[in-house]
Amino acid sequence: MNAKTDHLGPLFPRDCDWHPAAYTPGYKTSMTRAPQRPLVSLGSTLSEETGPAFGPSMIGTMDNNLVLNFTGQPAIGERIIMHGRVLDENGRGVPNVLVEMWQANAGGRYRHKKDGYLAPLDPNFGGCGRTLTAQDGSYEFLTIRPGAYPWPNHVNSWRPMHIHWSVFGSGFGQRLITQNYFEGDPLIPLCPIVNTIGQQAAIDVLVAPLDMNRAMPMNCLAYKFDIVLRGRRQSFFENRKEGL
């Protein structure tokens, strides 16, 4: 069995009690967008076990540098490295997968026509980045730490500082979007979106610790955020026919 075959097994089932439920009334928008019928459970098929691949030719050299990738002039705010590894539930690094991220600027303002928050746009900050993981699954971005911002949920709801993440695995069934938060932010336990998650341990995995070992003296701080995708079984014991 070679390494490639090793990656083609069925996906581990998702732990739906770990993820947020669909219907979470504290987050008001979920009330009309949550399916009411149970999900139909299947084992994964080739349709979920295969998925798109991305190559280095699709990624520009500045795509993971949000401080400079909008105008070439530096954005304003707290300079940070965001780094970590994309792993699967077996603990193995997932190489060559696309990691995309987006965020507000240092004042909590998004460069989006629907964001009318009074904090100003930063003319030198766009707010998106992307990269491919290395052979060990590692990735790195240079960015500005995003600010908290208010949103119309409860009268006085504020999102903690966060970055949105979109990650691909080797199969379409591993597709994941999430958000990371920052160690020590007192807004985390107040947030209705964080609190769509039922278990504290499932919230804790979204909180990136300060990583002084990766900070660059007189340049930038660093936070570490590992992302775990669904694992895949090796296919020794599958009942599928050889070569199918």
Binding site: R33, P35, R37, V40, L46, E89
Partner: protein, 204 residues
């Protein structure tokens, strides 16, 4: 004490939020200059074999409102039923990429996919699934990406034999997964997140 299982837990999902387009389709949103082109503009390139089809639709919430901030991705096989990446059965049509990223129109909420009709793919037990396109949908208010499939209402025999459609116990719900043929090569497929005609979503 028993031995400890050394598995990691999958990272918890969170909503993509209302500004998902900043990250995933910045050019379509109107933020040019960061990436030369957005990823996932088309699942095929010129020369792809098979029947050209266009699927259009809307995503509708439990109050009948059309979502204008939904983002979908699709994944499909080529006309022969081979997936373009890591398919253990062999190489697919080189003009089929298989993956597309679709943003609903910011004003109308209508989305559109121009592609080829996929062939049949075997389930793990070897039985053939009916032609289908896998869909993953995220949006504000959706806490975990929703997975569904687009099947085709003019594939009656294949649909009747599909082991995945056969798993749906409430048979009248199968119709929510069938794109309706409205003209040669044209289909419509609405996704209803909640309510009486709620689309079937899968845990796969």
């Amino acid at each position: 004490m028993v031995q400890r299982l050394e598995y990691l837990k999958e990272t918890t999902s969170q909503t993509a939020g209302p500004y998902v387009h900043i990250g995933l389709t910045p050019n379509r949103l109107g933020i040019p200059g960061i990436y030369p082109v957005d990823l996932g503009l088309s699942p095929i390139s010129d020369g792809a074999m098979g029947e050209r089809i266009t699927i259009t639709g809307r995503v509708i919430d439990g109050q009948g409102m059309i979502l204008r901030d939904a983002l979908m991705e699709t994944w499909q096989a080529d006309a022969a039923g081979l997936y373009p990446v890591n398919d253990p059965r062999g190489a697919a049509d080189p003009h089929v990429i298989g993956w597309a990223r679709i943003a609903a129109d910011f004003d109308s909420g209508i989305w559109r996919l121009d592609t080829i009709k996929p062939g049949r793919v075997p389930a793990p037990d070897g039985r053939l699934m009916a032609p289908h396109i896998s869909v993953w949908l995220v949006a504000r208010g959706v806490n975990l990406g929703l997975q569904t499939r687009i099947y085709f209402d003019d594939e009656e025999a294949a649909n009747a034999a599909c082991p995945v459609l056969g798993r749906i116990e409430m048979r009248d719900r199968v119709a929510t997964l069938l794109a309706k043929r409205t003209a040669p090569g044209a289909y419509s497929f609405d996704i209803r997140l909640q309510g009486p005609d709620e689309t079937v979503f899968f845990d796969v």
